[in-house]
Symmetry: C2
Subunit: 358 residues, 2 copies
Amino acid sequence: MNRHHYGLILAGGRGTRFWPRSRKRSAKQVLNVVGDRSLIQATVDRLAPVIPPERLWILTNEHLRDTILEQLPEIPPNQVLAEPAQRNTAPAIGLAAHILHSIDADAIMGVFPSDHVVAKPAVYRSVLKSALKGAARGHLMVVGIQPRWPETGYGYIEFPRGTLPGAAGPVPVLRFHEKPELRKAKRYVAAGHFYWNSGMFFWRADVLLEQLRRHLPRTAAILASLPRFGEDSFAEKLKEAFPLCDNISIDFAVMERADKVSGVPAGDFGWNDVGSWNAVYELLPRDAGGNVVGQDTICLDARNNLVDAPGKVVALLGVNGLIVVDTPDALLVASRDCAQRVGEILKTLEQRNREDLL
Amino acid sequence: MNRHHYGLILAGGRGTRFWPRSRKRSAKQVLNVVGDRSLIQATVDRLAPVIPPERLWILTNEHLRDTILEQLPEIPPNQVLAEPAQRNTAPAIGLAAHILHSIDADAIMGVFPSDHVVAKPAVYRSVLKSALKGAARGHLMVVGIQPRWPETGYGYIEFPRGTLPGAAGPVPVLRFHEKPELRKAKRYVAAGHFYWNSGMFFWRADVLLEQLRRHLPRTAAILASLPRFGEDSFAEKLKEAFPLCDNISIDFAVMERADKVSGVPAGDFGWNDVGSWNAVYELLPRDAGGNVVGQDTICLDARNNLVDAPGKVVALLGVNGLIVVDTPDALLVASRDCAQRVGEILKTLEQRNREDLL
């Protein structure tokens, strides 16, 4: 372990596609949808051998901070920050870089989503180490994941033709590509040197701050105007300043514009972004009927269903390919094919002024 | 109204096909599955203009008696009896005939299921009056319902060829037919003089008792040995004697064996025995998407579903032809095609010793 390695876990998302289990105060990252530990707990667990909890920082929102503090007592509470407003990833990452650099001028930071699954943590950690090495040498590093299918929901990273997964050392990134249409996605996968953008980034804090000053000067200036982290006025000033930052992703703001952007073309480390209830179905073990259900569920002529209904007996009769999620005040019954569309329900709830269910 | 007219409402059934809404203590007849009033309340309501509540008697079981007393304050509480054991319809009807005859030697009684729906109560009451007239003349009367489809779940009554619905006066019943196979049911419907057996019977109490003595002598003797209704020892003696009665239906015990069995071949009075959740779906008004749901249900690409989930927001997404019934401790998600099989779930619950959910 290197004492200059820090981790920033981004945990401000809502994960609306996990409604009704997910709510503002219990977003996807704090749910244990695929195991005994919540997704953010699992994130901290798998990072620990490389970056220990005392050097992990979490950016989240006011709704989730208490739950995260409770779930992660090993992380110093003052390192769990609630963003005063939702401002996409660039200001959040910039803020963390600002703080880390003020603490340790040699800080090297990794940025991690809080709500993904990694089935092969040992492979994952070797990827981290490659990425941290590249970052130490001044590169802006991104982790690419070898695509397993022509996914249209992810951005792609274009490495030089012939790049092989697991390549040693930083590989230059030629270009970032937005979420493609299916035809394009198929071309990317067939070409072989296009990788999924994992959302994991690594760099020296000073390098990132320099890039922000160049490409996002207003936000950089706002962050530079903040008092030193730890001073009494920090929280108050942050509350004033943060909402003024540009609402933009780090991909747009920096990665697509900067020089010396490199990546780790990673092989299979069992990555899954758990994008919907259907991903949960795919990740969990099924019974002989293809059902992912607890022992309190009765299946009669029921196949390939997912049931999440703690404390309730559920009977499935003659149904196929359903997602059933029960909570005390709301119940979802959806076709697995439509799992990506669960977020649409929240729009209807908003129209009906059911803030209590969001 | 004739002061010798009495009604016996049979309310001892469980209605397992309405699980999880129906339980031992909240059987189908006390549920308001198709309106604001429970099925037994609606039964009393529609009888009232012909047989007032003070001359209605109810036979039920220990689990349901309190709920029925609560739902029907207009019925004298001592006329709501809990059978000490479940013994099919012959002993229950015999007991009521015994009591009514001891109160009124000229009693004419109608026997009514407690869990059916009648959409045209005015037509229904004219049928009742015809049946009561036939009963007054000494006939054992049964109400036949003109079949609307070749149902295999009902028994059939065979009237003489050419019998028309709404015929005046008692029409002799040639034969009772058990639940037929589909081919036979189709023949019955095509023939035109076969009617569904409604389970509604009418007779003088003394005539029925005479028939019981002839065809079910042991049960008749047991009932005759009871003290007079109203005496202190009645309940205690009933508790001892009733379980000794023959476990047999009135159809088998009397109607299929007796002479002078007649019927009313009724036209359409909007009868429905509400045999399953699918019947509830058929009975209730649907929205444009064919869904029978409350205003707390959100339907996105969801069609032809039934939702019964009081106090809970339900979201249906991309599903079709489902029955969703939510209760605090159990949830059913079934295909409407399988509504008849809901009872099978109770067998599994019994095997799992979940008496709490029965």
